[in-house]
Subunit: 259 residues, 2 copies
Amino acid sequence: MSSVAKVARVLESFIAGRTELSVTDTVGLLDIPKSSASRMLKAMADAGLLEHAPGSRRYRIGPLAIGLGRAGRTQSRLMDRLHAMLAEVVRSCGHTGYVSVRDGLEIFGLRMIEGSHDLRVVREPGVRMPAVATAVGRALLARFDDAALAALLPDQLDRPSPAAPASRAEAIARIAHARAQGWAEAEDEGHRGIGTIAVAVADPVSGECASACITYPAAVVTAAERARICSLLTDGARRVGAELGDPVWIAAPRRRRIA
Amino acid sequence: MSSVAKVARVLESFIAGRTELSVTDTVGLLDIPKSSASRMLKAMADAGLLEHAPGSRRYRIGPLAIGLGRAGRTQSRLMDRLHAMLAEVVRSCGHTGYVSVRDGLEIFGLRMIEGSHDLRVVREPGVRMPAVATAVGRALLARFDDAALAALLPDQLDRPSPAAPASRAEAIARIAHARAQGWAEAEDEGHRGIGTIAVAVADPVSGECASACITYPAAVVTAAERARICSLLTDGARRVGAELGDPVWIAAPRRRRIA
DNA sequence: GACATAAGTTGCTCTATTTGGAACTACTGT
DNA sequence: ACAGTAGTTCCAAATAGAGCAACTTATGTC
């Protein structure tokens, strides 16, 4: 049995429900002598795939494996459908789009779809930003009501730009505004000269929620074009939301546009 | 560099933000010849750690790695605090307790704390059960409002026992009841002769939600003892909920007990 | 605290897995 | 159609991993 297969077999046993694993357990699991089992588990711990359970010689899933779950969020029916919808929007409007998720009080992009315009906004996925200071983040946080937000957000907010919310109350108000209209907008917030329009869709079966957004150079995009991008995104979100059973989009009134 | 270290290095690069990986990327990542890179990625794909991206020769995270992230859910501040709270409840009442989570329309236990009574309910963690037909599942589903539940639940429900809800409307009513009183109860539902009382707590920072429950032999536990278990669990849930910032428990009236 | 047992670690020799160059196939861009 | 790039497979050689034995550490019992 190859080393890769053994690593996989050990990790599989955690998926099957185990929370801890001993060297002796591993002898039975892999049908190898305990010296081999001991060295295999130690090597996996050294690599971050496992760690010692506190106060114990047994092993549990390690930081690398836990982090993998987060990385695995790039792949689900929600992400695939948001990606496909966003690809159509990008094709139609020519600007760059991202599929992003929230992790605590930060957001980060999982997928990027580059636009075709000569003047483009390009940012690598994976870069983390404060959720309240981005359209994407406000679209995602719009899934919480005001009371939950008051519990979740700290008193003092970082303020990466003058356009970002300065207080928790202001952040909550802007999130409530995004909730009411079904999409969020930012300009000169995460980055100067850049505008963003974002929507969020949830998959009630998996419990996931993700955002799709379009970013564009604020100076060259007209009000009519912004309205069109907004319309493309909200129509797309409603369609994906309906497919997945997201009650927010099923219940949302059809015309929710820029005033 | 050992095989385990190489596997870990490849998986780490997905955590760092990459969504796809080619054989050529791997040559650079691991500093090995492309024949070695090709075989390493193929071995990882065969083991389920990676898979081919659709319509591409590039690789992305595979089902085993994605499942691992889910398995990693056993370890978080929510799980640790629920476990500690539940250990105290088990010590006090003597019956077995579980920490469980929902995955779609099913629930499964992540951690078990065995009671001290001679007559015990013992079920291995990891066994999946329909959410609507268990106290645990109804406590977890109580986080959704009725509209969301109507979208989430199928028309036809499996009915593993006569005590389980027979229709979606009945399931929603029982979940609403659990929501109103802050805990859920089941008797003769998942298993004959077994009673369960369950609460749910969420961590708004991580987005996780988990249940803590006590199971007991229904025939030998008095009404007064059931009320005491209920009180221990809801007091414990309120304390953990307050620590984590769960608005449901912060806002909940203090006395929410069995009528 | 003494003792037996179980779990886990490490040294060292052997072997089976892994390596990597070369030759090849498949795909992509012009 | 063709050149260049990406990826695969063969096969002999190399070495990481295997596994026995001896050892250390932890645990349960009296």
